[in-house]
């Protein structure tokens, strides 16, 4: 039998009652505004009088004024314990009033009844009398109904449940608490503490963090990732606190967790992405069914403002990197210019508008999986092509625009993201162009003869001549075409945007390959 939690509560005379009391005990949780509680209080008084001395019969009331009313109304001599703080009701997991608990002399639970059923109550009263070694009370049970429903416990009322959970020693919150003085504006306080990205954040009160934690099945103390540069463990609780600050709903939390796991890999190398003087930042692309469930926006202004999920998931990741990882601008985050994408960059692919397999399927996941893919990218830049009506011509526009990424003469270059708008996607669909063909065309259009892209006094950046040995390239080599991208696979393609407008977009990257940052995908664990 389970040992019941110990407690100390004051009775109506102000005396301290300690549980376990060293004798069998009957505890009944009641509240004055519950009709069934009012019905059973005289029964409990009768039980108290019959067993007093050999067993304890205590009422545990959930509301101070109501407790006093019950004592007066029924001229109670049985102890009425004040649990208006609800801590005992909470640790006893009381959900329905009345709840009747029978304990033996060692404080172990011998029986528990919820609500009122006459036969059950009769049996429990008889069991209590046996434990006490006394005769039970003489009660005219026929005067009582067979059954009455209970009422909801006050512990379950909105706001109270979260407070009790937050106060509980066994609750899921373990992080340090910070008190904001009553005279301080809590939003100004968050700025003053250096916890924000420059925009206001939602204060992560224990109640809000608890609500956020309902978005995941993971234990609050599980470490999601070790976050550079501080190499600090990010628990689910800490991730949830930052998600609250960013403005996330609890349902978004699994996406934030998956994105954090993805960036904190050696392949993605978030340390380098944050520290570089270049302006890259994590960009999250979401695929799969979760896009619709979260109400993400893959359509009009997909890469911009206006959608809560798009905006706050990306922002939560950045706040985690700042607050847990310690990457702060001017500290370890040292981009010369950066871009607005440093605040947030997250969007879902418009899979339904795409003529191709969506990104996550291309990267080895099932259609039915929900997946995040993270890229180290700059902010997006538009490519206008309102004239081309063939795949051949349109893909050339993509190639010409992509050639400028990082610097037109620098090659081979690593990963970029091309976001094809629905009208452009439709042109490519009608013309039967696969993604592979688009990539080939980009590589062909963006290729330049070596002589045009060598470092020179005319334009310092470019391909170093030393790659061809001490004498540099010969005349034949100078004519060879140098592709822009190390491999066609470095050109990642997704579809997004509104139905109207022949405007696609490109995102430049950072240093690609194993020494820099490579895209990483993670299944979202819902």
């Amino acid at each position: 039998m389970t040992a019941l939690p110990s407690f100390v509560l004051a009775d109506q005379a102000g005396g301290a009652r300690r549980f376990p009391p060293g004798a069998p005990a009957v505890l009944c949780f009641v509240k004055e505004d519950c009709p069934t509680s009012n019905m059973v209080v005289p029964l409990l008084e009768a039980l108290y009088r019959a067993l007093d001395g050999a067993a304890r019969v205590w009422l545990v009331g959930q509301e101070a004024v109501g407790n006093a009313l019950l004592v007066d109304r029924y001229r109670l001599t049985a102890p009425m314990l004040d649990d208006s703080a609800l801590r005992v009701s909470y640790v006893y997991a009381v959900e329905i009033i009345p709840t009747l608990v029978l304990a033996d002399g060692e404080g172990r639970e011998q029986g528990r009844l919820v609500g009122y059923r006459k036969d059950e109550w009769q049996a429990l009263f008889a069991a209590a009398a046996r434990l006490a070694g006394r005769d039970g009370p003489a009660i005219d049970w026929d005067a009582y109904p067979d059954w009455r429903p209970g009422c909801g416990s006050r512990t379950l009322e909105p706001g109270i449940a979260e407070r009790l959970q937050a106060e509980s020693a066994n609750g899921p919150l373990r992080a340090r608490r910070i008190d904001i003085a009553p005279g301080d504006d809590e939003f100004e306080f968050m700025f003053d503490q250096g916890l924000t990205d420059g925009l206001p954040v939602v204060p992560p009160t224990p109640e809000r963090v608890l609500r956020m934690l309902t978005g995941t099945r993971r234990d609050s103390q599980q470490v999601v990732a070790v976050v550079p540069p501080n190499m600090a463990p990010a628990t689910v609780e800490k991730v949830a606190a930052n998600a609250v600050m960013a403005g996330c709903k609890p349902a978004y939390l699994p996406v934030v967790i998956a994105a954090l796991e993805a960036v904190c890999t050696d392949e993605f190398n978030i340390h380098g992405v944050m520290a570089t003087t270049w302006g890259a930042s994590p960009c999250i692309v979401v695929n799969g069914p979760i896009r619709a469930r979260l109400g993400m926006n893959p359509g009009v202004q997909a890469l911009g403002s206006g959608n809560r999920a798009n905006a706050t998931i990306g922002r939560a990741l950045k706040l985690i990197l700042r607050n847990i990882g310690g990457a702060k601008p001017g500290g370890v985050e040292r981009s010369t210019l950066a871009s607005p994408a440093k605040y947030t960059m997250c969007f879902p692919e418009a899979q339904e508008a795409s003529p191709w397999e969506p990104l996550h399927v291309e990267r080895g996941f099932e259609h039915t999986d929900s997946v995040v893919t993270v890229f180290a990218l700059e902010g997006p830049r538009g490519i206008a092509d309102q004239i081309s009506r063939t795949g051949h011509a349109l893909a050339a526009s993509f190639g010409l625009a992509l050639e400028s990424v990082w610097h037109p003469k620098v090659r081979p270059y690593g990963d970029v993201l091309l976001v094809v708008c629905p009208e452009h996607a439709e042109t490519l669909r009608q013309d039967g162009w696969s993604k592979a063909r688009v990539r080939e065309r980009i590589q062909a259009v963006a290729a330049r003869p070596l002589c045009d892209v060598l470092r020179s006094d005319e334009c310092g950046e470019g391909v170093p001549a030393g790659r061809w040995g001490p004498g540099g390239p010969n005349a034949e080599q100078l004519k060879t075409l140098v592709p822009k991208f190390a491999a066609a696979g470095n050109i990642h393609i997704v579809v997004a945007g509104g139905q109207a407008g022949k405007f696609s977009a490109i995102f430049g990257g950072w240093v690609g390959g194993p020494a820099g940052s490579m895209p990483v995908s993670r299944r979202i664990d819902e």
């Binding site: 992080a175 009553p182 916890l195 992560p204 800490k238 340390h271 706040l319 990882g325 020494a515 820099g516």
Partner: protein, 92 residues
């Protein structure tokens, strides 16, 4: 009073004391090239000048495999074991 959950890694603010400045440069000096373009040019010139001014000091050169990632543990340990001073060329 509002209470919030600390969203940071809860590092106590630690103010680390600087190592005492040695009275003289002696023993071995490490020059660390982080692989940024032309860092090697800068360090080579620095090495020349230091050899002229400090003939009694041994100078050893080291190189990180890439500037984009922290130095590998083995390299940090090697430098700590072999040199008493480090000059690192940080940026191009």
């Amino acid at each position: 009073m509002t209470q919030i959950i600390d969203p940071t890694d809860e590092r106590a603010p630690i103010r680390r004391a600087l190592a005492p400045r040695p009275a003289a440069l002696a023993g071995t000096l490490a020059l660390l090239d982080i692989s940024k373009p032309r860092g090697d040019v800068f360090l080579a010139r620095l090495s020349e000048r230091l050899r002229e001014r400090l003939p009694g000091v041994a100078i050893k050169s080291y190189r990180k495999p890439t500037y984009t990632k922290p130095a590998p543990d083995a390299l940090r340990q090697q430098i700590a074991a072999e040199a008493g001073f480090v000059i690192e060329a940080l940026a191009d």
